[in-house]
Amino acid sequence: MVILKRKSSILFVFFAVLFCNGQEVVKGIVVDQNSTPILGASIKVVELKNKGTSSDFDGKFRIKLPEGSYTLQTSFVGYKTVLTTINVNISEMSFIKILLTENVEELNDVIVKGKTEAQRIREKAFEVEVLETKELKNISVDINSLLNTVPGVVVRESGGLGSNFNFSLNGFSGSQVKFFIDGIPQDNLGTSLTFNNFPATLIERAEVYKGVVPIYLGADALGGAVNIITNQKKKTFLDVSYDAGSFNTHRATLNGSYFNKKGLAFKIISFYNYSDNTYTINQIDPKEEGIIVRDPLLGNPIDTLSSVKRFHDAYQSQMVQARLGLVDKTYVDELFLGVTASSNSNEIQHGILPRTPFGAVETEESVRSGSLIFRKDSMLNLPVKLRVYGELAQISSKVIDTFSNNYNWQGEIVERNDQTRGERGGAKTLFTFDDQRHLINASLQHAFDSNKKMYFNYTKNYLRRKGSDAFSTLRSPFEDPHSIDKNIFGLAFEVEALQKRWETTVFSKLFLASIEGVIEDEFNSNEATRFTDYKNTSQEWGYGAASSFQIHNDLKAKISYEKTFRIPEGYELFGDGLLLKSNPFLKPEESRNINAGFLWTPKLGNFQVDVDVNMFLRNTKNLFFLLPEGVTARYINLAEIRNVGIEGEVAMEHHNFYIAINSTYQYVTDVIQDARVANRPYFFGNFNTGYAFENFFSKKGRLTVSWDTFFTEKFPFQSFTDGNPEDRFFVPQQLSHNIQLGYSIEDKYNISIQARNITNARVFDNIAVQKPGRAFFVKLRYFLKTTKSKI
């Protein structure tokens, strides 16, 4: 990597001569084997005492030396120290590149003391949780299940693999929380790319930002954001896995990269998921035990079965993403062209309540997209990093409900006299959304010096939706297309002071949204007034700050605040063209989010302890409420909610043993009515422990055993106070345990067995919707990486 071009070298020399009075400025860069700049490497001049410097955030350094010959001693923790001889001579100045190679022996020692990327992010001023998947790649687990272990997060599922889920973060859910992959917003991409589709094997880590979201995640996130990071290392590797288990579940992943010496790069990520989800359930009613058998003609109860198996719940999804490009060129640090294709099909077993099942309703979705990534780490020799991402995506989602009869829970067809309606009771449908998403994300980073940085981010997220129904001769929802154009600008300053003990970021975000649509009045025969153009624009300024202070070596305090918004979705504003009516006056939802907490990382005896406590306050207003109106309904800004809570985690680690426990308590109130909001878990947590036996069976073998427990306290479905306590509906207390056993040889060959819900407990996330009981999974994984590294 040549940073300095010839012309500027000459210029540089010229200035050096002008200003340096016989002293020459030596300039260079410290990099690792992957040409990644090393920050903070120490460079000492062996010949001159007290002469030295350290590399900056771009790995660069400069040092003033009189003419002569010198030896530079460059060292960095985890790397072998390098001696470089230089000649300082006014007539032949050159740019010095110092290559450090990893010191494997030292690195093994260092790992405990050194900070992983996850730790580094966690110690940022933002309230963020980081999950590394290193130890989890061998287990049959998807990202949603991983995120479910984060304090403040509850993932409420309505079934097995691929089922609908509600991701809730500090009480926010739905589109109030935004999802990203490598910083790219994933909203509106449908259900084939949601995180329950991604096995943990495919990613390196997940970051969960609570309430206060850094600007590089450009979205109208009202209550936080989740960003998952895929493998970013410039290393050639191949990672394949396959797992199989209960309910005819099969999953496979392929993850690989190839980098050649000329800077050509190819990356691929792919997954396949399938499950019949034929697990046993014991109730379909919030109150009544067993499955009621009904008279097929009259609907009266005639018998009760103690259990049935779900019979129409299969899920399949697949995705492949390939990227081809160049890395580490003089003109670009990263340039990739990518294509993604994904699809899924999902059998729907029942509606919100499982009292009456479906046997034929299905949904199908697909996404096709093309993307471009451009990254340049140094612009015009300034400490400026630029990254641009562009994407065009087509999303199609279809609901299939064309079956003329009903099903009962025994899986039998119940005939109806009315053969014109679909199984869900409405019109038969092959309803399809056709969405187009255009996305641009540009981020710029400028370092004034190693303590002051500025960030700028721009995200354009444009969505155009059109609905059609191949089956219907009449009107379809969203038949009149609508578009949402969100433009989000973010600007942030990051300052570190007091020997980096104090770190503060202040930021502002500008949300510009323009939502356009046409609403057709079918009953109006006057062409001039038949179509009404609607346009809703909003301009909101959000702002916030995050600050952390290292009180003591082991203790860090953090505080963060953000005022933020969520722009309405198209259907919330325009309705669906049928019974959901438009409200063009809908304002964005608005929230003020505060976090205050501390990180305490003492060493107690042999144990490295990690205590992370956060208190949060969320004041949200203008929340959308679905107002019924005759047979129709529309969204209005109505609700105002406050959520106050505390979440904490204690983790202890010693050698090959770890134990961690975390818990969250939150109290959600409707501020206007001073009533506690029901149907949200308010007290939950989990517990994990594990041990690794090194050199097991063979010298290179490693056996791991781990245990996870999940707990959610019983919570009321409708109200904390209303109704006779005996008659109230509750989602019962949830307690389930998973055990994993894994064996790896050199990290290359891996096999694991997982037993989920080992006590076969009846667990519910939603009222009356039972989740899978005991289940077993076996996973095989092969991981190959080249020992040779590209330079």
Binding site: L298, I413, R416, A427, K428, N622
Partner: protein, 444 residues
């Protein structure tokens, strides 16, 4: 193979049915007990709709009252009491049983009775195919309910499916029979002049072994809009045979009834049948040009009384009717839309001041404002509860729920006890919720 399995199942179910029924009649101790004093054992219950909390909609409760006084003073609340229901529900009574039936997805009708200890308890439930939209307590033994779901956009459809009428045993809470009948449906011929429609029943009366049904002709696109609204329609079926006897229509007013209430057509003490036509956009009826008013079918007749039309819209104190319910002595209570320039369905909003309460004297054809009830809002209601000649209704006042921010905590709901003879009302109990969807008296 499938068919064989199917028939085996039906036989099995038949056997099970017979056994269940024969067993249940023995141990059904909460039915009518002739030894009980009906007045002494009078019990009251209400269908209670709470305010929405957070982003969740209101919750319906079945709430037992300690006495009638609970409606006349104090506060009514479901805090710590009442049986919660899932989803939005209809509340109707037949005999000593109160039925609550869910809407669209929640296709379950639950029945409640007072047990020997005087506690309101669930008896049983049954499931239906879509939504039971209109109800009639035929007598103390039978609740009649009809499914109206309209979703005829199957391009292959060559006919409109029949409506399903459920005959529900008011003692057991179970379905005894389902009758299907087209009532008045048309697939149309694809032209605007002759569009398809389904009958949307707005009221039912059984008189002289005939079932009278008032209805709108709904365009079957799922939008809830009627065609040809400038006529009133009534179908007359033989009951309980469900055979069409006659379709009658009248062009002096618009289609009868509104979506939701079951009182579009009702019978007076002398056997005369009265119906109301709304003609109001805010009540959901688009494009009506005929005045809102009341028609009559005289006792013994099967045609509209051509000598009778009560033009409520143009009468002094009148206006467009949102809802009417016959109380007695030739008098009915009605809600008049105060501002029909509101958008379609706005009269149904659960908070606002868009309606006024009036007494309609159906004989002298006069409209009298009820003194003591302010302009208010109220959505669906079960047939009005009347005791000692007084009608008990719930009404909510407050700022109209609107597209822009409105506060539901600013509104107030009260029970009003209306003396229909004098057209005066007194404010009764405060309701700590949106509305009472129904008030019920059980005398077992």
């Amino acid at each position: 193979m499938k068919n064989l399995k199917w028939s085996v199942n039906i036989i099995a179910i038949m056997i099970a049915l017979v056994t269940t029924f024969s067993c249940s009649s023995d141990d059904n101790g909460n039915g009518l007990d002739p030894n009980r004093n009906p007045v002494a054992n009078a019990k009251y219950a209400v269908g209670f709709q709470t305010l929405p909390v957070g982003q969740s909609g209101p919750v319906d409760y079945m709430l037992e009252l300690s006495s009638l006084e609970s409606l006349t003073s104090g506060e009514l609340t479901v805090e710590g009491q009442g049986i919660p229901q899932t989803g939005w529900r209809f509340f109707h009574q037949a005999g000593n049983t109160i039925f609550t039936a869910g809407y669209v997805e929640d296709r379950t009708c639950i029945s409640y009775q007072f047990d020997e200890n005087g506690d309101l308890k669930k008896v049983t439930d049954f499931v239906y195919q879509t939504t039971l939209n209109n109800y009639l307590a035929v007598d103390n033994n039978t609740l009649l309910a009809v499914e109206l779901a309209f979703g005829v956009d199957d391009p292959a459809a060559t006919a409109i499916p029949d409506r399903n009428f459920y005959l529900i045993n008011a003692e057991t809470g179970l379905v005894e029979d389902i009758k299907s009948h087209a009532v008045d449906s048309s697939i149309g011929d694809g032209t605007a002049q002759n569009p398809p429609y389904i009958p949307w029943v707005t009221g039912m009366v059984v008189r002289d072994a005939k079932l009278f049904l008032s209805y709108h002709k709904y365009f079957p696109d799922g939008n809830g809009n009627a065609i040809a609204v400038d006529k009133a329609y009534v179908a007359i079926l033989k009951y309980p045979e469900f055979e069409l006897e006659k379709l009658i229509e009248d062009d002096r007013t618009s289609s009868i009834g509104t979506n939701g209430p079951s009182t579009g057509i009702e019978q007076a003490e002398n056997g005369d049948i009265y119906s109301y036509s709304s003609s109001s956009v805010a009540s959901g009826v688009l494009d009506a040009t005929k005045p809102s008013g009341v028609l009559r079918i005289k006792n013994g007749e099967t045609d509209f009384d051509s000598s009778y039309f009560f033009d409520v819209e143009n009468a002094p104190n009148g206006g467009k009717i949102y809802w009417m319910d016959y109380i007695g002595n030739g008098k009915a209570l009605a809600r008049i839309v105060l501002d029909d320039s509101l958008p379609q369905w706005a009269a149904f909003r659960e908070q606002g001041e868009q309606l006024k309460l009036v007494v309609l004297d159906l004989i002298s054809q006069t409209v009298t404002n009820v003194q003591g009830v302010p302009p208010h809002a109220n959505r669906y209601s079960s047939p009005t509860f009347v005791e000692d000649g007084k009608a008990y209704i719930s009404a909510r006042t407050g700022e109209l729920l609107n597209d822009s921010s409105t506060n539901v905590a600013d509104g107030e709901t009260y029970v009003y006890i209306v003396d229909v003879e004098t057209a005066t009302a007194v404010k009764g109990a405060k309701v700590n919720g949106f509305a009472l969807k129904g008030i019920f008296k059980v005398t077992n």
